[in-house]
């Protein structure tokens, strides 16, 4: 490979790296300082059937799913969210709805519609519920209520169970009648919400029969039952299915990654909250003691102006170190991400703030030792020194890199435990099982076992 320091494209007159050039579709660029890669579009494989999960979770687990579903046969369920494509919720529903139907729980998925003004409001709500600044006006609330009312008039709610995902369709609760049970699935962290936005939504949420949360730390005090429903990954998706070594090797070759040496990887969009600069600093500290390469792979720098700025900051921090490989990938790169995770010696998630952080579950599922910040939903996935290691600083991250690279048996045990942790708690099938059980309890089909206390 050419010495990047001799590449005139990597340096400007004032010594700063140049702005990343536009990606050229189909072209593989191997210059380490050009982070823009394209990856081929692939046809989506057919959705997996329940039987396809047997080699992963075992026959008894599948039997238990079928048993729980048997008592819900011909019950009807409706899932409602705000987008059919893109985002974690749509990804989960895309897999879960067919599985519920295969189990003969008649499940429909409907998406609410709205104009740009509605989605601007709901985006504002989303940020405000995460603690961001926001000015709530009557006009904003009216837009939210108007579109919810329009959708409510358009939709029918004759199902036994209605599951509303996230705040956008929360106003549909007005259609709750005598018959059906309504569930609100909150996928976001409400630990520090904007008081005006939460104050507006809260009366709606209090009308649901149950609420579901990704982590106990994300909840609010509510007078309705709150259940823990972890987000999940699909072990048969492009991003998580087993990948053969030839594919892993090809992806590494394409990206200029040397598999004969340790590989540290962080998969995250280029966002300051993911602290990619901190990851490079930790790598540099660790590199004084152990040989390794660092791969920072993600997206968001092509269509997000802020992402492009962060990418430049990352490239500045990386300087001319040929062992730092920065990859700005398009959104359809699931297979490449999968291969990068498989090729990694250690996976890092050094976020400053995080939702649930499902990239951690993806890495754990692949049996990788994970170093991650103790923020958001990460401590639920990474139990310190058992399923990974938690860190609170650049220095802590650097130390753990050194430790894991020099104690491969410990790293391997973390990876094994992490894989089992995901298998037990964070797989799609575990999510389906939770829903089946909740439906049974809400519909009175099953009575929870009475705890013997005396």
């Amino acid at each position: 490979m050419d010495d990047p320091r001799k590449d005139p494209g990597t340096m400007t007159e004032n010594g700063a790296p140049p702005a990343p050039p536009e990606a050229v579709p189909g072209e593989r660029r191997k210059r380490p300082r050009d982070p823009n890669f394209n990856t081929p579009h692939r046809a989506a494989p057919p959705a997996p059937k329940l039987e396809d999960y047997e080699p992963i979770i075992g026959r008894p687990e599948l039997d238990e799913l079928r048993f729980l579903a048997r008592h819900l046969r011909n019950k009807t369920v409706k899932m409602v969210n705000s987008t059919a494509v893109g985002g974690g919720v749509a990804e989960i529903l895309n897999r879960m709805v067919p599985l519920l139907n295969e189990l003969e729980v008649r499940t429909k998925w409907e998406v609410i519609t709205g104009g740009n003004d509605f989605f601007e409001v709901t985006k504002g709500f989303h940020n405000a519920l995460h603690g961001g600044e926001y000015v709530v006006t009557k006009e904003i609330l009216d837009i939210f209520l108007m579109y919810n009312e329009q959708n409510r008039q358009r939709m029918e709610f004759a199902e036994d169970i209605v599951v509303i995902h996230d705040p956008q369709p929360a106003g549909l609760i007005k259609s709750k009648g005598e018959r059906g049970k309504w569930i609100w699935r909150c996928h976001i962290d409400l630990s520090n919400p904007h008081p005006d936005v939460w104050g507006f939504l809260r009366p709606m949420i209090e009308q649901f029969d149950a609420t579901l949360w990704s982590s106990p730390s994300f909840t609010r005090q509510l007078p309705v039952p709150q259940y823990l429903f972890f987000p999940c990954i699909d072990p048969l998706s492009e991003k998580n299915k087993p990948v053969d070594q030839a594919t892993v090797q090809k992806v590494c070759d394409d990206f200029g990654i040397d598999r004969s040496r340790p590989i540290l990887t962080q998969i995250s969009r280029f966002d300051r909250l993911k602290d990619p600069v901190g990851v490079i600093q930790a790598y540099k500290l660790a590199k004084r003691y152990v040989d390794c390469q660092l791969v920072l792979a993600g997206g968001g720098a092509s269509d997000d102006p802020e992402g492009a700025v962060v990418l430049r900051e990352v490239m500045n921090e990386a300087g001319d170190d040929p062992n730092i490989i920065i990859l700005n990938l398009p959104p359809w790169s699931a297979l490449e991400i999968n291969a990068l995770q498989q090729a990694s010696t250690v996976v890092i998630q050094k976020s400053l703030k995080e939702g649930f952080g499902l990239t951690v579950a993806e890495a754990l599922w692949k049996g990788k030792p994970v170093i991650a910040s103790a923020v958001g939903g990460i401590p639920t996935q990474v139990i310190h020194k058992l399923t990974g290691v938690l860190v609170h600083s650049v220095e802590g991250c650097a130390y753990q890199i050194r430790y894991l690279l020099t104690h491969p048996e410990f790293a391997e045990q973390l990876g094994k435990n992490g894989h089992e942790h995901v298998k037990e708690n964070f797989l799609m099938t575990a999510n389906v099982k939770r829903y089946l059980l909740l439906f049974q309890i809400l519909l009175g089909v099953a009575q929870p076992k009475k705890l013997e206390t005396a």
Partner: protein, 226 residues
Amino acid sequence: MAAAQAPSAQLRWAGAPFYFNSAAHLTRIGREKATNLGELLAGMKACPDASIFQHTFQTLREHHFIREGFSNDFAHWAFAACNEVGLAERLSVIDVREVTSVVGLRERLVNITSEYLEQNPRARDRAAFEPFYFCASESVVIPTPYVARNLAEFSEALHKVSRHSIYYHFIDARLRLKLNTNDFSLWLENELDLGVVADRINGIDIYTQTLQDVRRAILRIIDKAG
């Protein structure tokens, strides 16, 4: 005339068959949370019985794959979030196999934590890295198709059932039975007259082995008995 010999273990038939069950669980998030050890103690005293059960028994199912570490959520939090290793060690000594009621279990947890805070008063109000959230479990029993009438059938079924079934019969059973034993041992002793086998199975250490290890250990004991 020679006395009739008892049939070998493999040939004995049970009067009452063993029906393998399993259980599915939902975790309900409780109202109590603790941000320091003083609040943990208050929560231990006030939380529902189902929370005590969740953080001592259920956590063994949720983390069945871990062989090391502290044995219950309270101990783990005292260590990981409060850096109070001494308390973590004392809490982790509690073995759910020695208790037959949640009331007794709560009492032990409260006593250990109270004593520790009396000896280490400064630990009471020191803020933890992250809060402890009291949760509770709602469980539904699931019958399985597996039934055993003799040792061979028992062994065959044990190979096939899920780890949730093993948890249900081997760990969860202790509160149900109100005895220091488990469903497997009780049946083997009562129905197949295999008291020694039952005792050996009951002695398997659930804190240093995964549920899969427990399955393998039971099968090894049964193989030897046969």
